[in-house]
């Protein structure tokens, strides 16, 4: 039991369950099938986006271009189908390819120049976004194949959207990657301490480039999922991803200096953010409050993480004195 309490996701899970019970007590509409469906849809999309950022946080960097990659892939995916009549499958693979290339560019430049990933991804954010606007001239693509539309609307059973399958699989794969593979361990080791991980013989280039490629790939998937859900490819897909992409991992206890991320806690962070946003909508609170709330949640999470670190430090000190 005490082991469970120490887990990052445990407290979050408790908050989610108790919060949901409390909210549905005051507003039964919260557990209506429609509301649950909307909730799960937004969780599905943000889950992928949060994972895309989380893997970069794991190596102690940040990726500002997550939204720009998602947007570029979204309009490429729809544009290829509408303008060039490509099949869904080939458009999808090209979309994934674009995500991988974008991620590779981010990772390769970052690791080869040693310039902070923040500034590199800020530059690529504008490059990718500029390409997006240059190609579309800010006009959306409306002609989406019916099967894509169907995929975005279908439900497995009850209120569970079909769309949620992909994010759930991705979350599982990410958990396996971070907890059960040497690549994931190496990434965390690199995030923890670059010098010592290099001394251990881990190739920095490989780690950073792989992490950014995975991030780009996930951002690409996120972009295409949004297309399925919106049923069109607008150039502004991804514009609002930055804040939630950091919020979920940080609420999930990730340390921004790198070396510590928790996939399950990040997923719970996504769910918590979605529930709160949805609740504010149900209580008819101004949508701008959602944004303020998200900001405050990040700050609160930061304070809590800090406090726990402090407590852990103190406990460690007690032991070393014995």
């Amino acid at each position: 039991m005490s082991n469970l309490l120490k887990k990052d996701w445990f407290g979050l899970g408790l908050v989610i369950i108790l919060g949901s019970i409390l909210i549905s007590f005051f507003k039964p509409a919260f557990i209506s099938p429609f509301n649950l469906y909307v909730l799960m849809l937004s969780v599905s999309l943000m889950l992928v986006v949060a994972m895309s950022q989380m893997i970069i946080i794991a190596i102690g960097q940040m990726n500002l271009s997550v939204g720009a990659i998602g947007g570029l892939v979204a309009i490429s995916f729809t544009g290829l189908m509408e303008v060039y009549d490509l099949s869904i499958l080939s458009a999808m693979f090209i979309g994934l390819g674009i995500g991988i290339i974008c991620g590779f560019i981010n990772g390769y430049i970052t690791v080869k120049t040693g310039i902070s990933a923040f500034i590199i991804t800020l530059a690529t954010l504008y490059i990718f976004k500029g390409m997006n606007l240059g190609i579309t001239e800010a006009q959306p693509f409306y002609e989406i194949p019916e099967s894509v539309k169907y995929f975005g609307n279908a439900k497995i059973f009850g209120p569970i959207p079909f769309l949620i399958i992909i994010p759930v699989i991705i979350t599982f794969l990410m958990w396996v990657l971070m907890n059960r593979t040497s690549l994931g361990r190496y990434m965390l080791a690199y995030g923890n301490n670059v010098q010592s991980s290099e001394l251990m013989g881990i190739s920095s280039t490989k780690i950073v480039v792989y992490a950014h490629i995975i991030s780009g790939l996930l951002a690409a998937i996120g972009g295409m999922l949004v297309v399925c859900r919106l049923q069109l490819g607008t150039p502004n897909i991804g514009d609002s991803w930055l804040l939630p992409s950091f919020a979920a991992p940080v609420i999930g206890g990730a340390i921004l200096a790198g070396g510590k991320v928790d996939v399950i806690a990040t997923a719970f962070g996504v769910i918590l953010v979605a529930i709160i946003s949805q609740t504010l909508v149900i209580f008819k609170i101004d949508p701008f409050f959602v944004q303020i709330f998200l900001g405050f949640m990040i700050l609160i999470a930061v304070f809590i993480n800090r406090y726990r670190e402090y407590r852990e430090d103190r406990r460690n000190k007690v032991f070393s004195n014995e």
Partner: protein, 328 residues
Amino acid sequence: MKTKIPDFVKTNQFGLLLLVIVFILLFTFTTDGFSSRFNIYALSRVVAIDIMIGLAMMVVILTGGLNLSLGALGVSAAMFGGWCMESMGIPISISIVLILLFGSFLGWINGYVTVKTGVHSFIVTLATMSIYFGFMTLLTEAEAFRKLPETFTDFGSMKLFNKYISPLLLLSIFTCFVLFYLFKFTDIGRKLIAAGANPDAAELSGISVNRMFIYCHMLSGFLAAVAGIMLTSRIGAAIPSMAGHLGFDWLLPAFLAPVIGGTLLSGGKVTVFGTMLGAVLVTLINNGLYLIDVGEFWVRFFLGLILLFAVLLDRAREYFTSKNSIVS
């Protein structure tokens, strides 16, 4: 035998100055209307604000941090000013003092939370960005203040020097000199740099690093508020969306100017005039891109590329200068 090259030739600022001159010549001869009175006046109004934004970011980069909330903060301060002047009827001079205090206060929040949590200012200002912008939109109901006092808006459309230059640019240049003096010749300025360069050493030599970092954030908020006032005066109204969603339109010039100007992202180094030249260069290129008609939508793409090239060049310069110093 060897002719000695003066030191300033090797500096980043000199290279920048050359680039600025090259671009001015290039655009003057290749485009119509670059050197027209209208265009130069328009440029001076834009560059004035870009310099101020760049300086506001520079003073936080000094601490090794960043301020994502810059745009949101500037717009919040500007909207607060609009409310003071239009709704409350407070005289302009008092309003401006209030705006600057308000901006410094928002900066203080950034600094205080950063220092107290020990979290990177990136995440703190990411959060405050959405908090400031959210509150601003909520309180103003996304409505602009369009009936500002005429003396205030006239300042932004005033033309000096044979109608070539906006007084806003003079204000920015004046601010550059004040900051230069602050960092070069005052005790507090040196303490700020020392705290940014090596926090541990600064702490050991009796400087309160936390307090210095909070000062930097307050200064950043102050300068962002100045930029907000200038933009309001230029547009003639305080508009919630004047820096884009969440103030994001300010971020690229904010980072471009100091980074091109040679400010180290790891902190501990400021280049006031480098930042100024960086802002001039960015505005020039931006303006030139519109004039040679690359298409409105591709401008962003090129600015991103330029940022990338700027940091790569800076890296190359560092590499070669360090190699030279080993040889000699």
